[in-house]
């Protein structure tokens, strides 16, 4: 699949880049997970941890940028290698944004938990974040396995995330209209939901980058949207074979 390089130090450098991406990915996944847990369990301590952890991703992105630029300057890579390196820069930028969004959710924990909100809202947020996290996890798994032929799942799940977000949005609006005292906490929840939905978008971006790295093509455009009927699929796992 990949051309054999004469310089093995070069290979080491490329390997190092992908290892750093994986580490950033793992970190981002953990931050999102903990931010939502902090929100659902009203745990300001955990939220503080998430906020502190964000610097790791900032540093990761800076390091990857620097390393990638040095490699490009020193090795003057072609075709597949160049795609790999440029792709790495793009993915690390997306992961850094995921971290920012998780941090933003964590920052709202205190404001949301001041007044107790209906549990169904939190269940909805949890379900939304499970979808977004599954998207991120499976996309990063494809980065590891390079089996881009399975990457079609991102489009479906992207639709599911949108549908879930829309539904939550409506529910939040109803609560706000019911009682003006709900407006402040529900606005925070609304932003949390929006952030999580955007985390899903970044995962989709990463999927597109991976597809480009491996094939040199753009991920096939979205298939036409379903008409009135809606569809969700619950399987959080893609069947493994």
């Amino acid at each position: 699949m990949q051309s054999v390089h004469i310089v093995s130090a070069y290979d080491e450098e490329l390997k190092y880049l992908s290892k750093r991406i994986a580490a950033m990915g793992g970190h981002a996944e953990r931050m999102v997970e903990q931010a939502v847990t902090a929100l659902v369990n009203a745990d300001p301590g955990l939220a503080q941890k998430v906020i502190r952890d964000d610097t790791v991703l900032d540093e990761g992105q800076r390091e990857i940028d620097d390393k990638a630029i040095i490699i490009i300057a020193k090795r003057q890579p072609m075709a597949a290698d160049l795609r790999e390196i440029v792709g790495t820069i793009r993915i690390s930028a997306d992961l850094e944004r995921v971290g920012d969004l998780a941090k933003n959710v964590a920052k709202r924990v205190v404001a949301v938990t001041d007044g107790r909100q209906p549990t169904s809202l939190f269940r909805g947020l949890e379900a939304l974040s499970n979808l977004a996290l599954t998207q991120l996890k499976e996309v990063l798994d494809v980065y590891a396995s390079r089996s881009v032929e399975k990457i079609g799942f991102v489009r479906d799940r992207d639709d599911q995330i949108d549908a879930m977000y829309t539904s939550l949005f409506r529910e939040l609006l109803t609560y706000m209209m019911e009682d003006p005292r709900n407006i402040t906490p529900c606005t925070h929840l609304l932003f949390c939901a929006k952030n999580i939905e955007r985390i899903g978008d970044h995962a989709t971006n990463i999927a597109e980058t991976i597809y480009y790295i491996v094939t040199g093509d753009q991920l096939p455009a979205e298939r036409p949207k379903g008409d009135k009927t809606d569809k969700i699929s619950l399987s959080e796992t893609q069947p493994v074979k």
Partner: protein, 421 residues
């Protein structure tokens, strides 16, 4: 080709030579098993079994590797090395992964394949296990800072799992390392289950309890001498207690499912027979609601891997919903069909009703616990709002998908896609 007589005579010597040839390998293997044992606390049985297997692999004539007798010793030692390594790994019941200096997977046993989908030899371990604690663990042992290490590792998706992971180098200067995952999910889940159960139960039982308390008060006060009211109130109280009992049953069954997120492998389910018995068992409900059930089954055998009781529960919940909420449509169509959509061939079981349908904005949400589109209807139908979350749980375990299609006014179709692989 090979001389049979000579071979029979030589068996004893070959055996001894084979054992001697593989002495380092054997020693390394035993050390590795013991190390793993010490680190992860695998049951003594597994260790014993793997040692026995290792010995057996060394002693028994390897019938497969038998092409030449001249340079046999060296070739057989190599064959043996590969074989015994795999046997050893296979004999360990926990997921086990052997990797090299570059963190590349060299071998993973069946348990590892089952637990972590999408791993393959040649793949980078640090790209797959991205959690910060796993990265630290791998970095530590690969940099040579520590010879072995243990860490607690949590996975949240697709199902929550907790492992105690131990890593150590194999033998001396083999440049190989072994990673063993000891499943701790059970203990952790018991704690979680307790907390969840109490939270859910206390929240959901409050309403029926409050209403019962209210009726008791009325019965002891204003309605003390009103026989007609008393009868009516007692009836309501009875249905409320019934609801509470069902709620507890459902919560327990959900908790039990969360306790064992894996399916025991190897069992086949006959969908035709299972769906038929679901339809039979819901016959009374259907006729009570004046709903006719139609069947459209594909020809030929309709089998999928899975757990019969659990799939029964899935179809029971879906059909029950169709009869309850789709009552006004007067009929429900149950169909089983082969589907080869996409990369995963499977069987679709679809339960379609012709009732009021489900508004678009609720569809993504109705599998959440206690989510009801219309609280009043669900209450009059004695629903607890847990049916579909149980369905979702079971299907996740089966690697299956549920898709819900509905148009307001035109009924709803719940489709279960079960992979056949």
């Amino acid at each position: 080709m090979a001389d049979l007589d000579a071979e029979q005579k030589g068996t004893a010597q070959t055996m001894a030579a084979r054992l001697w040839d593989s002495r380092w390998l054997l020693a390394a293997g035993i050390v590795a098993v013991l190390a793993v044992y010490a680190l992860a606390g695998i049951s003594a049985y597994v260790v014993l079994a793997s040692l026995l297997l290792l010995l057996a692999a060394a002693i028994l004539p390897a019938t497969g590797a038998r092409q030449s007798t001249g340079s046999g010793a060296a070739i057989e030692a190599i064959g043996l090395q590969r074989l015994s390594g795999e046997y050893l790994a296979a004999a360990v019941a926990d997921p086990l992964i052997i990797f090299d200096r570059a963190a590349t997977i060299v071998h993973a046993n069946a348990a590892a394949f089952a637990a972590f989908g999408g791993i393959a030899p040649g793949m980078s371990l640090s790209l797959k296990f991205r959690a910060p604690e796993m990265q630290t663990l791998l970095d530590g042992v690969l940099s040579g800072d520590v010879a072995s290490d243990v860490v607690d590792y949590m996975e949240k998706l697709p199902v929550e799992r907790a492992y105690r992971v131990s890593v150590s180098s194999v033998g001396h200067a083999t440049d190989l390392y072994v990673l063993v995952f000891k499943d701790q999910s059970e203990t952790r889940r018991i704690d979680r289950m307790r907390a969840d159960f109490i939270a859910n139960a206390s929240h959901e039982l409050r309403t029926p309890l409050a209403s019962i308390a209210g009726f008791i008060e009325t019965l002891r006060g204003p309605a003390r001498n009103d026989a007609a009211a008393r009868d009516q109130f007692l009836q309501i109280m009875q249905s409320q207690t019934g609801r509470m009992a069902r709620l507890i049953d459902d919560l327990l069954s959900l908790s039990r499912l969360e306790m064992k997120p894996y399916l025991k492998p190897g069992t086949e389910v006959n969908l035709r027979q299972t769906v038929d018995s679901v339809i039979d068992s819901l016959g009374p409900l259907a006729s009570e609601n004046a709903v006719a059930i139609e069947r459209h089954y594909a020809d030929g055998p309709l089998h999928v891997p899975g757990d019969r009781d659990e799939l029964f529960q899935v179809f029971e919940n879906l059909l029950e919903n169709a009869c309850k909420y789709g009552q006004s449509g007067g009929r429900v169509v149950v169909s089983i069909a082969h589907s080869d959509a996409g990369s995963e061939p499977g069987i679709d079981v679809t339960i379609r009703d012709f009732g009021p349908g489900i508004p678009e904005e609720h569809i993504p949400r109705i599998t959440e616990r206690f989510y009801r589109v219309d609280v009043e209807t669900s209450r009059t139908q004695k629903g607890t709002g847990l049916g579909l979350s149980i369905v979702k749980h079971i299907l996740t375990r089966h690697n299956a998908r549920l898709s819900i299609k509905s148009e307001v006014g035109n009924g709803a179709a719940f489709s279960v896609h079960l992979p056949t692989h």
